[in-house]
Amino acid sequence: MQDFIQNIDYMQLLYCFITGGIICVIGQILIDKTKLTPARILVIFVTVGAILGGLGIYQYLVKFAGYGATVPLTGFGYNLAKGAKEAVDQYGFVGAFIGGTKAAAGGIAAAVFFGYIASLISKPKMKKQ
């Protein structure tokens, strides 16, 4: 345990905190200054992440900020695009259809599974009549 704590890269953690925070602030400004609904903001973040990932720009942010760049939804988009590119290298054209979902499979499956289970055990708030 002590060994692990000594091994943590604290500068990396700081970059992660700051970058993740800034990406969220961009979202907050979009919420406050535009009429975009949260659903549209999530879609914009994923799409922008996929485009930046496709252009090969986002990987520099990932290298710099680690999970500060991959935990926000832009990172989800980046992961999809990165997977698609890697699968094209491996399988050719059909890889474009395989790679993205394959790379994000764990996250998507977890979201479906835990989402369903959590909804089942939840107690909906009683609506006031």
Binding site: F4, G21, V112
Partner: protein, 147 residues
């Protein structure tokens, strides 16, 4: 109180009475909560790396843990309180994706487990997946053409 005579006096009066735009406070809260969620991800990732997992697998495990946590926090009505405070700070990280699945599903539970929970889970997550996966396919096709 003195009667307000001019237009500008009235404008000043309105400005004084209306609440200040809370955008700076919102951004500050979004910043530190968002940063904290990413840092939790980073620490989980470090634990995975310490145990000898590669970066791809670590990233998947981080996503699964954060998604699972926020799904159950949403079901317990805790996540919504964090969301009200942090705004985009909890929406933009992958936790917001899980929240967007559970929230509508909870609301429509009374419509049944298939067309209620099963279908309404994807009111927000569906578009996210449609646009995310479609743009990744486009990226792949363009990459194929260029290489």
């Amino acid at each position: 109180m003195d009667p307000l005579e001019t237009q500008s006096q009235y404008q000043n009066y309105v400005n004084k009475k209306s609440p200040n735009s809370p955008i700076f406070k919102n951004c500050f809260n979004a910043f530190w909560v968002g940063g904290l969620i990413c840092s939790i991800g980073q620490i989980i990732g470090e634990v995975c790396k310490y145990n000898g997992l590669d970066i791809q697998l670590s990233g998947t495990i981080v996503s699964i843990i954060l998604i699972g946590l926020s799904a159950f926090l949403t079901a317990l009505n805790i996540f919504n309180k964090i969301g009200k405070f942090a705004g985009a700070g909890s929406l933009v990280p992958i936790t917001g994706f899980a929240n967007s699945i559970v929230s509508p599903a909870m609301e429509y539970k009374s419509e049944g487990y298939v067309m209620g929970v099963g279908a309404k889970m994807f009111t927000v997550a569906g578009p996210v997946l449609v646009f995310g996966i479609s743009s990744s396919i486009l990226v792949g096709i363009i990459y194929f053409i260029l290489t």
